[in-house]
Every structure is written in C-alpha cells, then in structure tokens.
Symmetry: C2
Subunit: 361 residues, 2 copies
C-alpha cells in the first residue's frame, strides 16, 4: 500500500502530459496509437488505478447509483463472530419449519436487477439499508455519493426525499403511483390481484371467499385490495358479501388470521395479499387437517421462493422483482440524460402463477 501513483506519475514515466494520460483513459481515439501504447505500458508498470473521487470531482458526476432499502432493524451483536481456531463444531437439531429469511428475497432480487442494469449502463451500485434513527444522515450521505437514488417506498420520509431530489434524481420503487415530483416504478398490483381473484371467483366458481389484506400503511396492499374489489364487481358481487380481514404480511400473522377465520366458519377460498400470509394460512389448514385445494383454495402474492417449496405449492401473482430493480436504474439514467423529463410512472407486468393451492380448473 505504497502511495498510489497518479496521472502525474504515469505522465512522467511515459514522457507525455497529464492531459494525454487522461485522454488515453477517457477517449483513446483522440490519441495516436504509438502514444497510447506508451501510456498504457506505464499504467501497468506503475499499477495505476484512477481515483474515482478525483474523477468524480472534475467531471461533476460519480457514475454511481444508490439503492436504499429498509433495514431489518435486527439487533446486531457488537462484534462479528471471531476467528475460531479451536474448531469444535457444535451439533444442533433444527426443528423449525418456518424460515424468516425468505422475506429478504424481495430486496435481494431487486438489488440483483439494479446491479445488472447499472453495470450495463456503466454505473456502479451503492447499497444502503435504512436502520433506525440515523436514517436521515445515511440518506444524505449516500445522496452525496451518487448521481441518482432509488428508494423503496416508505423507507424514507417524503420530506427527506424532496430534500435529496433537489440535487439528484430520485425514483421510488414499489409504492403506489402517486402524483408527485418523483419517478415511480412498480408492479401491476391491482390488475394482478384482479385477474387472480377473477380466476377464483369465475374459474373455480367460488362465492364464499375471504380476503386477508396487509397493513393499512402499505401502498402495495391498497392496490391489491382495490384489485380484489374490482374482481368482486366483475362478478357482480357486493363487497359486504365477502369478508375482508387485515393482517400484517407475516407468516405468523397469517396463522393468527387463519385461526380467526376458521373460528367462524370455513370459506371455500382464502385470498392473501402476500405470500407469507398465505404460507401461514397453509400452516393452520394443514394442522387442522383441512385439505388444500380440495376443501379450501389459498392464494398469495409476490412469488417468493418459499411458495414453491410449500406443500401444497402456493398459487400466487409473481412480481418481476429483478425487472423492478432494472427499471429503477433505467428511470434514473433516463432522467440523468434528460433532466427536463416529466415525472414518470412505470408499471411492470405481473403473472398469475398457478400451483396446487389453487390449481387450473
């Protein structure tokens, strides 16, 4: 880790000016081949790596895009596990049947999409998870480092976003398509749920259905619920003819809600506003010996992996999570290219995926 060589070192070594060195790196075509080779040789010999900080300062853009998503607020032990040379390996039993880590899949996939698209467009990707109280500081910190910022809906207060948006383009991921100054990227929550619900109501001919909604503060959930109501209307059903309950998007919440439902009666179908809730419902039904799909149909929403491994496998509406990430980056770069663009809303298509919990008729 000796002092890092700079353009000056490379220039001196190859007998040219720093401008030429810079040109070799930025626009090679503007330099005669002979010169270019000499410079590149010096670069390799010296182990020169251009400083992105200096480049960013001079060029007034960093070529980095930021992705901000909600943190898990988990209590993190102060120290990471330390090196263990003793090498005694404990043997433990695993009796759990729920996996809490499936919930992260959503962000993981969005991130992967963002990374892919950023790379394709010559940007690097910086990620940050919002945690607790220091969120505000984190957001401005990241904002100072990037050319554009993608934020998952509801992880950052609008006020802060507006503050940041004075400086760089901000795109909101997966929230409702509001009429505001930001770009929005999200999936067709409403139409997706409507199509699935119609499949249950009309395809399976079910009337006796319960809908488990998510938390009221989730914009995605509001759209899905609206889609469900549309489906009711499509079938000429009055809204009060079905039950609509609220849960919290978690597997445990799904279980509790399923218990409440079954305490009253047994509907023919239970539609859930997300997959985790549906998995919880499946847990309770199996435990009570109620057959799915013979006795009760169950559906979810999202398309998380765990839904493919459940018994029975879960019918759901699959969101294109990777594409969401890509589209977010795409929106940012588009605005970078043309800042005068009006705020746009991108709605990505979804897919109803039929599996055993609500099979094809």
């Amino acid at each position: 880790m000796a002092k890092a060589p700079t353009v000056y070192d490379v220039a001196e070594r190859s007998g040219v000016s720093i401008a030429t060195v810079s040109r070799v790196l930025r626009s090679p075509a503007a330099v005669r081949e002979h010169t270019r080779e000499r410079v590149l040789a010096a670069v390799t010999e010296l182990g020169y790596v251009p400083s992105a900080a200096a480049r960013g300062l001079a060029a007034r853009r960093t070529n980095v895009i930021g992705l901000f998503f909600p943190g898990h607020d988990e209590t993190v032990p102060d120290q990471p596990v330390d090196s263990a040379r003793g090498d005694t390996v404990p043997i433990v039993d695993d009796d759990s049947d729920t996996s809490s880590d499936t919930e992260n899949l959503y962000f993981d996939e969005v991130l992967r999409g963002a990374e892919i698209e950023a790379w394709r467009r010559g940007f690097a990707l910086m990620v940050a998870a919002g945690r607790g109280s220091s969120r505000e500081a984190l957001v401005t910190d990241i904002a100072g480092r990037v050319d554009g910022l993608a934020v998952l809906a509801r992880t950052v207060p609008d006020e802060l976003l507006a503050y940041v948006a004075r400086r760089i383009p901000v795109v909101i991921l997966a929230g409702a398509q509001r009429e505001d100054a930001f770009d929005h990227v999200s999936a067709s929550n409403g139409p997706g749920m409507r199509t699935l619900a119609n499949y249950v109501l009309q395809g399976h001919g079910v009337r006796d259905v319960v809908y488990i909604a998510g938390p009221t503060d989730s914009p995605d959930d509001a759209e899905r619920l609206a889609g469900f109501r549309d489906a009711l209307a499509d079938s000429g059903l009055a809204e009060h003819s079905v039950r609509i309950l609220r849960s919290d998007f978690t597997r445990d919440g799904g279980r509790a809600t399923a218990a409440r439902i079954l305490a009253a009666d047994r509907p023919r179908a239970i539609l859930c506003s997300n997959d985790e809730t549906a998995l919880g419902v499946l847990d309770v039904l199996e435990q009570r010996g109620i057959r799915v799909p013979e006795d009760v149909l169950v559906t979810g929403f999202d398309g998380i992996t765990a839904g493919r491994h459940s018994r029975p496998r879960l019918t759901t509406v699959h969101q294109p999570m990777v594409e969401l990430g890509r589209a977010a980056v795409h929106a940012i770069t588009a605005r970078l290219d043309d800042p005068t663009l009006d705020p746009q809303a991108f709605t990505l298509p979804v897919e109803v995926v039929l599996r055993e919990s609500c099979p094809r008729v």
Copy 2:
C-alpha cells in the same frame, strides 16, 4: 436539480469561512455552539449535501468498501421490461420443482452481512458482479472507488488482485486459507465436514458410505474432502474402503451421480459436499422409492434455505454467511486502521444441523 450548493454557498449565507462550515460537519465540537447553529440553519435552507467526491479527494479516503462477487453470466435482455399499461395479466402454470435461484442465497446473505458491518463502521458499501470479459476493467474501476475490497474466491485472477492490492486492502472470501499476501475469511469447511462425517460413521455406526465431492477447482470443496478423510482416519477406515465420486455442486449433477451410485449398489449413507448436490440425490432416492433416512442417510453442506423445505429436510453443515460478510468488512477496516498488519486468516465456526435426512441417533 439546480446547481448544487457548496461549502462556499453555506459559508457565505451563514457569514463564516468555509473552514468553519467544514468543521461544523466534520468535528462539531471544535465550533462554538452559536456559530454551529447558524451554519446548520444555512445548510438546511440551501439544501446542502456534501459532495463525497470532493471529500474523498481531500481526505484521501472514500469511506466506501467494495464487494465483488461472481456474476451469473445470464443472458440479459437488452431492454428491461417496459411499462405495460395495458394490464393484461397472463396466467401460467408452474410445474417446475427445482429452483435455480436458491444458489444466489449465499451471496445475498454475505452481502447483507457486509452491509451491516460496513454501516456500523461508517462505511458505505459498493457492490459489483463480475461478468464475462470486462471483469478486469470492472475490478480496477471499483478499486478506484473504494478504500478496501472484498472478493469472493476464484472470481478474480490472483494477478489482478495483486495489482489492486498495491493500492487498497483486499480480502478474499470463502476460499482456502492460502499463504499469500491477502487476508482471508472463510468457514471451517474441514472441521465441519469431519464432525458431520464422524456423526455418520460413529454416531450412526455406518461403514458403507459414498462421498460426493464437488468440482476440483473449488477450494472449499478440497477442504471438505480433507475433512471427510480425517473422519475416515478417526474411525480407522482406509480410504479405499469407501467410494469418493466427483460432481459439480448442482442439483442436476447430484441426480446424475446418485444414479451412478445406485447402478452399482446401495450404500447406507451418501455424504455430499454441498446442499444442492444432496437435494439432487434426494430427488433420485424418492423417485426410486428408497426411504431416507431408513434406507439411506443423506447429508449436505452450506445450509441453504431449500434444504429446510425438502422432504425429508436435509441434514447439513451450516455456514454463517452473514457473518462471513461481516468478518470480511471487519478485516478490511482492521487493515485500514493498521496497514502494517500481517496477512490474516479468519476461520468462522460452522454448525452441524441435524434434520430428518440424517437424524439424531
């Protein structure tokens, strides 16, 4: 997106010098409270966001840590899915039973750990996936942006790493603990496999065992195989008394290898060097009506989520993936604090997790 305000703007507005503005932001204690408040007021009014590029240039450190992992080399469609306002939602059947996306879990978790630890230490995290031919350019590009770089083993040629390491600390994740100039962070592959194998050999009293190794170019696999051999020695078994086959770490590979094994005879236990292979083995055994664990014991390695959802659930050695990410960042920051440190190797503890495929005796 008006021109972003700078320290000069803030200084002018609050009637102080830029040095004072900088101090308010960097070391608030050095400024009188009255002054500090005036400056902070100006900051908010102007919507000032410090430029990380300028800060990084002046301070000679960016406070960013890079994480480089292997890309999936998937063929990425040129354009992301476009906005679909028509909102026709297709309905498709999902008959697949294998999910290729579980493989990503490993990196996702490492990333999460890295993000957590980076944040705790005041660093931002930049991620990049190595893809195809431009890998070299990508690595140096990232290297120019960060204070330290964590790289998953075997994703970047040593030569390149050495080049980069002349400038910033580099830590290698999850590879063998080689004697080189880099820091290494990995899990106790050998002891983990040894413990598990001993449990099979001695706990279950099995002699008739087949071991399915992974690709020869995987350093993790080499350590696991060595651990298995140690276990053989522990039980006084000669190596030629068992069969050791090679597969490729994939579920399909596991299936093919299982078929080959069963063509010869039926061992009492099949130990696999990773979970995916083991899942493939389970597929074949179930298909042939061979009972697990009654007829054959099966074990894996890694602790991926899919192993918790299989039937029967898979006994495995669980790697602390989140901790790996944390430890990597930890190692980098340690070296940043004291560059004279000798190269270190951190070995994180693993856990044998018993599930039905090889239950507790």
